[in-house]
Amino acid sequence: MIGLFKITKNLEICDLALLIEDTMIIADLHLGYEQYLNREGFMLPSFQFRKIIDRIDKIKESSGAENIIINGDLKHEFGKVSYQENRELKKLLDYLEENFKKITLIKGNHDPIIPYLSQLKNFKIVDSMEFQNHLITHGHHIPEKIKTQTIIIGHEHPCIGLRSGERIEKIKCYIKGPFQGKKLVVMPSFNFVTEGSDILHEAIISPFLKESKLSKFRVYAVEDFKVFDFGTVEDITRIMGEQLVRGL
């Protein structure tokens, strides 16, 4: 049995998903990324769709989740729908309808247009939502009034680059820390093309994190359902003998 990892009183990590009771939250699937690569000249056929479905299945199985929230960037292309997205979106939504009671999609910056949504019954689409005293929002902009104590965002695709000698490995991670007197949780991306962007070395993009003291954030790395509490960003960078690129 795969264990869950509690990071707040009612928030648990189950691999690349966060759990609040029987609802699982995932973010940043970026369906259609392969076709975007094709346009850039990298002739890579779609290969991650199968992996995404398999992983959702496995998380659902080990957590018993009944509902699902997709916290933004379901698909990759801005302002248009590619052929691959069209095909895979349909397949994904069919799958979700069959397997979850309630499906919520939170809009990200990559998906202003999403087809097939009208066909779905147990479905709603929102800019952000409050759920059990959590604000769930994609994270590309900060909503005006935040009433909840905890905020959950995606958008950043956080990972950490660990180095030992000559070897560097990037590992997907959650980060949790203070934001304007509240608790902010940033989720890793739910796709298998890259690990994400290294928060220890690369530039931060989310306005939430730009307004926060990143050094105080706690890092929970995840690798194949295992969770590793690495302490704070400050600790890791100090120990790895490195400093953050941005002056913190």
């Binding site: 000249g41 002739m43 290969f47 691959q84 000698g165 070897r167 194949d224």
Partner: protein, 859 residues
């Protein structure tokens, strides 16, 4: 049959076949024919394929062209010269193409003058730089002599209109063929020639080569195969040796005892002296940074003699303008000296050079000859070369090069075979021409020397890849470049954009980009983007022999500050030229001989006498070698052709080192080191660090690495298998895969009007590599990337040879333990470039890092 040309024709016989006007022009211009011309001109006239290898200054280009010009003149006189191409000249460099075009000017004009009427023989250069309007002009009035590069030739083959102008091609000249044959550009050209042959039938092939070995192989590469047998070719080999004036210079009396500063000062004094004594000196260093440093030092040490006006650098990282300026100044005799890395090795016109200096070993005999051959271009003049040695290992190496040069022992050339990426590109090009039967297309491909052994299985795999069969049926249309009809055994092109896509992405030279490194506002050098990707703030690394700390990047500029201590990031890519295997083995033989002398207690004077005699050295240099070897003999043992010495010692903090004193050249050591590291890493489940040089390699680890058993587990039969696993766990494969994916058009560098930066290509090609590995372990492009690493980048063939020596007992393995590295190990440890073999599972690595960081937090 490939055979050596024995018959030398006399002047009368040659004049007899030349058109009278051409004869008159030749007589007005030259006193007589050169040796190469006596062998070749008449044979070309008789329609024979020839490969000409002769020293510079022997009128090589004219040898190739004279019969052709004569033939064109004959047609012109009779008014039979059509608007068609008769001769294609291919060289590796655009600059060389331009020179040739200019050099043809004079004879064509003069012959026309002698004729007293307009002959209208045209010649033109067509390369990537040729404009659209020039190309349409060429279509209306095609040049009779078309001067081009391998890449442009391949494009011409699919150009719908211009290819029709090739129907009369009777001659193809491949210049500097040795510089193409040893890499994928040559492989690419070999297929273009067979495709041309398929279109127009037989033509006369003429190859011009520097001195390389074996010429038979180059000849087969030039002429290709017909029904499994090489086509006929005559080899014309004019001995270079009588035209050589070569000496070795040891800058100080005792290079072993002298400190580096003293040696350095002496080198610059000698350089200054030599430059002053000559009109124009060409100095070769082995690296681009070395080039810059020599120019800088000469100017700062002798400010009243050398300045920006009379000394310049010339290397491939410099802008085109700067290189052209250097070439022009050379032609006009304005430079006292020019310093180059490899860019001036080939035959572009740089005017008259009376001295070539090689600063430190050029790493192979043929390269030494090629470089020295750049001097003394006047007919019947000797090429004058001086090799200046820079340290003790260099002394032994340079002395051996000198010996081999004088004795005519040239190292063996390696021609890549069965390159599936180049094949993919050509099959796509062929599909664009017309539809093909599977059997016949394979037959055409197998006419190339480089594909004569191609298996049908690999051929089909490449076709299947091109047909997009790696993608699901429903989205195949995106990836399919050709259609492949298995049932009827045919294939052909698919998509309207095919020709455009092919023409804009053709070629085999990988895109590279590098970032400028600045220290306190001053440029200190360049680093590859691949290397830059690994740098983290605070890292220290070596550049141009100095250590710097990485601060930040802005655009493509890297900011660093000087630092000290051992670098935290090894240099993953070495710019250094690899030592040739044959030369390495010769040095080992010499070590054998010296070892025996010490062993049998020969006197100092006797041994020094032997060195002087064997290596053609002076007494000071011989004395230095004696000292160096004696130290090694007394402290440890002398590694040699009969003894592979393996040295074990513990470094700082108990880190374990195993030094393999295998003087095999870097390409062989690259292979052996990774295979042994893999065996160790697998057994002890940990990462092993690897450092490789020409003179050996070492492995190091924080934990146990065992003894000699890892080396003993390796044999000629299992090497390839183990290495294939090993390179999957190192950084070497990733970069090569990107190049192969681009060559086989799986990555389109120029697509839909966009050109991609190399940096973006890297991240995404890693995604592509991971995908391909999951898809099929034998995907043709992955297979090719592995082959390229094993056979071209490394030298698995000779690595097997070494393992066979060990297996047969011709080379014994001997183990020694030392407390500090032995004298021979010293340079090896100090100069290696590094890689790491990652064996630890990713999850284990994360667990270990996690544990280490958490423990640190607690304390």
């Amino acid at each position: 049959m490939i055979k050596k040309q024995e018959k030398k024709y006399n002047s009368k016989e040659i004049y007899a076949i030349l058109h009278p006007w051409v004869r008159r022009w030749f007589k007005s211009r030259f006193k007589d024919f050169t040796e190469a011309q006596r062998y070749a001109i008449k044979e070309i006239h008789n329609g024979k394929n020839v490969l000409i290898s002769s020293p510079t200054g022997s009128g090589k280009t004219l040898t190739a062209f004279l019969s052709i010009i004569s033939e064109l003149t004959r047609l012109a006189e009779k008014g039979e010269l059509e608007d068609k191409v008769y001769c294609i000249y291919v060289s590796p460099l655009k600059a060389l193409d331009n020179d040739i075009e200019k050099n043809l000017d004079e004879p064509l004009k003069e012959i026309q003058k002698i004729a007293g009427k307009k002959l209208g023989i045209r010649k033109a250069v067509r390369t990537g730089d040729t404009t659209q309007s020039e190309r349409s002009r060429m279509l209306r009035k095609p040049p009779h002599i078309l001067i081009t590069t391998p890449e442009t030739l391949a494009i011409i083959l699919v150009a719908p209109k211009f290819r029709k102008k090739l129907s009369h091609v009777k001659y193809v000249i491949v210049d500097e063929i040795h510089a193409l044959a040893d890499n994928k550009r040559g492989v690419h050209l070999s297929l273009s020639l067979e495709r041309l042959q398929h279109i127009i039938g037989d033509f006369i092939r003429i190859g011009l080569s520097a001195t390389v070995h074996p010429l038979e192989r180059i000849a087969k590469f030039l002429v290709g195969y017909h029904e499994g047998k090489p086509r006929d070719c005559l080899i014309i080999d004019v001995d270079y040796r009588k035209k050589l004036d070569l000496e070795l210079i040891c800058p100080v009396d005792d290079i072993v005892a002298a400190d580096p500063e003293e040696v350095n000062n002496a080198i610059y004094d000698i350089l200054d002296e030599l430059i002053s004594e000559h009109k124009t000196t060409l100095i070769f260093t082995n690296t681009r940074s070395g080039t810059e440093s020599v120019v800088y030092n000469l100017k700062s040490r002798f400010p009243d003699k050398y300045n920006d006006d009379n000394i310049m650098a010339h290397h491939s990282s410099l802008s085109r303008e700067l290189r052209l300026e250097a070439e022009d100044k050379l032609k006009n005799g304005k430079l006292k000296a020019v310093v180059s890395s490899t860019s001036l090795e080939l035959g572009i016109d740089i005017g008259y050079i009376d001295l070539v200096i090689l600063l430190s070993s050029p790493k192979s005999v043929s390269r030494a000859l090629q470089r020295i051959g750049r001097s003394g271009h006047r007919l019947h003049e000797k090429s004058k070369g001086r090799i200046i040695v820079t340290d003790r290992d260099d002394l032994v190496e340079c002395a051996m090069i000198l010996k081999d040069c004088l004795e005519g022992k040239i190292d063996e050339i390696n021609i890549p075979e069965n390159c599936l990426d180049v094949l993919a590109q050509h099959l796509y090009g062929m599909a664009i021409e017309h539809r093909w039967s599977l059997d016949y297309a394979l037959e055409v491909v197998k006419r190339s020397y480089c594909y004569r052994n191609l298996s049908r299985e690999d051929y089909m795999k490449v076709l299947k890849y091109l047909a997009g069969e790696y993608a699901d049926l429903e989205e195949r249309y995106v990836y399919a470049k050709i259609w492949l009809d298995h049932e009827n055994g045919e294939f052909g092109r698919r998509g309207k954009l095919a020709r455009m896509l092919y023409s804009t992405n053709i070629g085999t030279i990988p895109d590279r980009s590098s970032a400028v490194v600045k220290c306190k506002g001053k440029v200190v050098g360049r680093i590859d983007e691949e290397f830059l990707e690994k740098l983290r703030k605070g890292d220290t690394f070596v550049l141009g022999g100095k250590i710097y700390r990485f601060n930040y990047t802005r655009g493509m500029t890297v900011n660093v500050t000087p630092a000290s201590g051992p670098p935290t990031i090894p240099s993953w890519f070495s710019e250094q030229l690899p030592l040739s295997f044959d030369l390495a083995v010769d040095i080992q033989r010499f070590r054998d001989a010296l070892d025996a002398k010490f062993h049998y207690g020969r006197s100092k004077s006797e041994i020094i006498e032997f060195i002087v005699d064997y290596l053609h050295l002076d007494y000071n240099a011989a004395h230095a070698i004696y000292q160096y070897f004696r130290e090694q003999y007394l402290y440890a043992k002398i590694p040699s052709k009969r003894r592979l010495l393996v040295e074990f010692y513990k470094g700082f903090g108990g880190r374990k080192f195993i030094v393999f004193h295998g003087l095999f050249g870097r390409r062989v050591n690259d292979a052996l080191s990774r295979a042994i590291a893999y065996i160790i890493a697998k057994k002890y489940k940990r990462d092993v660090m690897i450092s490789v040089t020409d003179n050996g390699f070492y492995l190091s680890s924080d934990g146990k690495m065992g003894g000699l058993e890892s080396l003993q587990r390796l044999d000629p039969e299992n090497l390839r298998r183990i290495l294939t696993w090993a390179i999957d766990k190192t950084e070497t494969l990733t970069g090569r895969f990107r190049h192969c994916a681009a060559r086989s058009l799986m990555i389109l560098r120029r697509y839909k009007g966009k050109e991609k930066s190399v940096g973006r290509q890297q991240v995404k090609s890693r995604i592509l590599l991971n995908f391909v590995k999951e898809l099929d372990e034998n995907f043709p492009i992955l297979k090719e990337a592995r082959r390229e690493v094993l056979e071209d980048y490394m030298d698995i063939k000779n690595a097997k040879k070494v393992l066979k020596w060990i297996k047969d007992g011709a080379m014994r393995i001997e183990k020694i333990d030392t407390r500090i590295p032995s004298p021979f190990a010293f340079n090896l440890v100090a100069q290696g470039y590094l890689d790491v073999l990652k064996y630890e599972e990713r999850i284990e690595f994360i667990k270990r890092m996690h544990k280490a960081i958490i423990e640190q937090i607690k304390t």
